[in-house]
């Protein structure tokens, strides 16, 4: 029996079938609901590994220790011992293979990040000796007079 009701029904079913087939090929196999449930955990699992494989660029002070022992020792015995070498020299990545040398930044802007005087008595900034960059030997690099690794002024 031919029915004008059944015919569109078949069309709808075929369309649904096609969508399911297409979905099978488009959606990655590891796409699913994981630990955090439907609301927060619906994702492609292998993406977690992709993020975990991201390249580490900042290697911290202990990495520099063996090859630049003089700088390390002098820095660690100074008031600047809290500052990471890479904050001033940029990320080590695979130095000395790549890049063979790290940048040396002698700009005043590097030092005044901490030493530009700001009148904020209630913040920790007040505990760092501040200078007014416009008054304190303007136009000259700070490192012509101060040692960036060991700026201590005992004996001045």
């Amino acid at each position: 029996m031919k029915s004008h009701v059944l015919r569109p029904l078949w069309v709808v079913l075929v369309v649904i079938g096609l969508i399911l087939v297409a979905r099978y090929f488009v959606v990655p196999p590891d796409f699913g609901i994981y630990e955090r449930g439907f609301m927060y955990g619906f994702h492609r699992k292998s993406n977690e590994k992709e993020w975990e494989a991201f390249k580490v660029k900042y290697r911290t002070k202990t990495y520099c220790k063996d090859c630049h022992p003089d700088k390390y020792e002098s820095n660690m015995s100074s008031k600047h011992h809290v500052i990471q070498c890479e904050n001033c020299h940029g990320p080590a990545i695979d130095h000395p293979e790549n890049p063979p040398k790290l940048t040396i930044n002698r700009k005043r802007s590097l030092c005044i990040r901490c030493h530009a005087y700001l009148p904020y008595p209630t913040s920790q900034r007040a505990k760092i000796k501040g200078i007014d960059p416009k008054e304190h030997n303007p136009g000259m690099e700070c490192v012509t007079c101060h040692n960036p690794h060991k700026p201590d002024m005992e004996g001045w």
């Binding site: 609901i33 390249k55 700001l118």
Partner: protein, 256 residues
């Protein structure tokens, strides 16, 4: 119409199966998946910010951008530092030039000279993704491109994100933005590539003053957990019910 109890139950069962079948056709849970869905992890990453210790040097922002390949000169960043200057007359000034990538070196706030004698209190507040327990940004994703890991870290699948921007609108803390190169939603990953290697996040390592710390909140002996359990800490915008997992020491009511 009269119905026996047996007929009624039969109809109900048939109805339930009929509605469940089409849904079942879309997703079958394998036993392994089902187990993973209920098994809980013994790691939950959380963050601790001590606003008293921050001096506004901005090395955390610089390190984050270089570590995570966020274009350095674009006005977007995964973490930033805000400066708050509250005057004695109650007025509040706040700014974050370039997210404080180059630190705070100018006493002018919002292009305004401030007389030091008018300042009641002034401080710096580092901000980053709170890795909320109930992340609203994840709920709104229409394609499952952003998600929460078992350890609480919320990530974005760049190959799956369609760039609709719903998540950027949904985050009450404004931590999400479009990546200028990939044109996908971008956010702090808690440097998960470093955490899984046993390292700290890049911003934590870069901070000379210990204003930032990251720790496992499920480990009661972790120093960060100890502070959160034993000291007075606060979270940002608790009224949103997002349960942020970045805790602040010395949070001021003016900070939003």
């Amino acid at each position: 119409m009269r119905q026996t109890r047996r007929e009624f139950l039969k109809t109900i069962t048939r109805g339930a199966i009929a509605t469940a079948l089409p849904i079942g056709a879309f997703k079958f849970l394998s036993p392994r998946e089902a187990r993973a869905a209920v098994a809980s992890s013994n790691v939950r990453w959380g963050f601790l910010v001590d606003t008293y210790k921050c001096v506004g040097c901005g090395f955390c922002v610089k390190a984050c951008k270089l570590e995570n390949e966020v274009p350095y000169d674009a006005p977007v960043t995964r973490t930033w530092v805000e400066r708050y200057v509250i005057l004695k007359n109650g007025r509040m000034l706040a700014d974050t030039p370039m997210g404080a990538r180059d630190g705070f070196t100018d006493p002018k706030v919002q292009e305004q000279e401030v007389n030091p004698r008018d300042i009641a209190k002034a401080f710096f507040v580092p901000k980053l993704c709170n890795q909320c327990e109930n992340p609203p940004c994840v709920q709104v994703c229409p394609v499952g491109a952003t998600y929460q890991r078992a350890d609480g870290v919320v990530l974005v699948d760049r190959s799956w994100c369609i760039g609709c921007g719903y998540c950027i609108m949904a985050c009450p803390y404004g931590v999400r933005f479009f990546h200028p190169i990939y044109h996908t939603a971008e956010k702090c990953t808690f440097c998960i590539h470093r955490l899984v290697k046993g390292m700290n996040t890049a911003c934590v390592d870069a901070c000379p003053f210990g204003a930032r710390k990251v720790g496992n909140l499920k480990d009661p002996n972790d120093p960060v957990t100890q502070v959160i359990l034993n000291q007075r800490v606060a979270v940002l915008k608790p009224e949103y019910g997002t349960k942020p997992q970045a805790f602040y020491i010395g949070l001021d009511e003016n900070v939003r």
